[in-house]
Symmetry: C2
Subunit: 298 residues, 2 copies
DNA sequence: GCTAGTTACTAACTCGAATTAGTGCTACCG
DNA sequence: CGGTAGCACTAATTCGAGTTAGTAACTAGC
């Protein structure tokens, strides 16, 4: 068995004429010897590892993320690629790209700018139809249809720059759909990790701007912080203050009152992201990318 | 500049006599040419990528995980290694090990058995002093000291085999510390994703075994499911039923009543895991690996 | 027996870095 | 002038897979 012949068989090199019997012999030998191609050597030749790196921003988590990852994986396995996920708290992005040499890189709105690395794709999620802007539309539109005009947007009171960037991006989307939805005002409501502080913040906001009748939160956790503060202040939800979350997390349905929230079709987003990263054509969304799950808090 | 000389300088090969001026010239040239050593080629020579793969079981999440990852990373950067984390829902473990060829592999109690891969370390977390057994001791011991004798352990009603394995492991730990703590009985309380089902399960358990006065949950989420069910059933917490969580997650302090929980020193565990994986000696714990955060639910 | 066609072979080389053994050159000392 | 450090060089190899060009061995047809 020459290395060349073996290579032709195992990699099914097109245009190579080999007897079927020979192919069988090679395959049998490979099996018997438990031949496992050395991936690093392959990667060296190919120029990159059979890996796509997904960089998650600091905010996303839980339910949505799971679906997104799932969707990307579905798409990548068809190409024999493995998905690697980097969370905000893990190794620095550069270090990670350097260490694994991925075939492609997918970043949700991130700090990462510039870069000569091949196959790098940035998803800016600003899409009017399928990005965060659309989700803002879904969330605020629902409140608008219920008659709310003054709405507060609950955000995390973070000082982290990259987290802040995402928050600002989402506030911009909210502002962008404001007039279209006939909303009078959209105010920011920055919440912390402390229930006491949050109570004070909510109380201050409502006394400053009593016209506010609803809170749209950037995630379910923030919505629940709001509900907790409202409960502490003796505010009736949803009669005096409605609240809607984002992401349809598990605790939301458990809360009392059960949290109304926006669910997004994360799996479909994952598919899209993967196809984009691989340079394959992305199709249309089969159904709306986000929808409201109505429960008791609105 | 010969390749050999350059290699000696850049890798600081010990035992090589070189003039400082030459070293400087090499370094300057490397900088000017933006020399970036190709990691895959390096990995090929070294036999593995400069990466340690951490495999998280299906249960862990949130707060604890963050600390653990942080701790491992602290330790690994000193060796120039990058930490990669695999969650339960991502690519299969084999595929991932195959794709990145990590220097070492760290698995929390997992399905993964056998394996010729070098540097693979399984952490069985059964340690009496510093593992899950110790945490069970911390959690149940606290309830025992409050006078509880019949305790229910809230578990996720999962059918997933690997998740089930971890649950069983933790139930075993609970059973193991039972007699030592003077507890009469430790019963399993399997909770689902449905508040209605949970309410029925809790009601059934308490009518079958009215002696039960406390619930110890395997994580905070399960503790909150229990609290939700208790609230629905009109059970007074903590007077008629106490509840303690595990993991000190963010929502726990937000809940009403605020959740008593067990916090574990995840960063220290991360350090240990990394040192273990690298074959370095692991020291003693400076302080208890877990402690109770007392709030209103007990 | 010659030619053409089929099939599998050998040998050399790529990817990029690291490492070894051996060599050449300079400078200094006795 | 010979000997010996001190220093940097050349050339060859390794890691494992994959690829290419050229060739050898065999069979079939005329």
């Amino acid at each position: 068995m020459s290395p060349a012949t073996v290579s032709f068989v195992l990699n099914e090199t097109p245009g190579q004429v080999l007897r079927e019997e020979t192919r069988d012999r090679v395959r049998a030998a490979a099996k018997q010897l438990h031949y496992q191609p050395h991936r690093i050597a392959r990667a060296l030749r190919a120029g990159s590892s059979p890996v796509v790196l997904l960089d998650i921003g600091p905010i996303w988590g839980g339910h949505i993320l799971d679906g997104f990852v799932q969707g990307m994986r579905d798409e990548l396995v068809t190409e024999g690629l493995t998905l690697l996920v980097r969370r905000g708290d893990e190794a620095p992005l550069d270090e990670m790209i350097d260490a694994v040499a991925p075939r492609a890189f997918v970043g949700l709105p991130s700090e990462y700018t510039g870069g000569s690395h091949s196959g790098r794709v940035e998803i800016e999620e600003g899409g009017r139809l399928d990005g965060l802007a659309a989700h803002a539309h879904t969330q605020l539109g629902f409140l608008a249809r219920l008659g709310h005009r003054h709405i507060a947007v609950a955000t995390p009171a973070t000082s982290d720059a990259s987290a802040r960037r995402i928050v600002d991006l989402r506030l911009q989307h909210a502002a962008a759909v404001r007039s279209e939805l006939g909303l009078t005002q959209v105010t920011e409501l920055p919440l912390t990790e402390s229930p006491e502080d949050d109570r004070a913040t909510v109380a201050a906001l409502l006394s400053d701007t009593p016209e506010i009748t609803a809170v749209a939160a950037l995630d379910d956790m923030l919505a629940m912080r709001t509900l907790r503060a409202a409960d502490d202040l003796g505010i009736d939800v949803p009669a005096d203050l409605a609240a809607i979350g984002f992401g349809n997390s598990a605790v939301g349905s458990l809360w009392k009152p059960a949290l109304t929230t926006v669910e997004i079709d994360a799996v479909a987003f994952g598919h899209r992201a993967a196809r984009l990263a691989l340079g394959k054509p992305v199709g249309e969304f089969a159904r709306p990318a986000s929808r409201v799950i109505v429960r008791e808090s609105t």
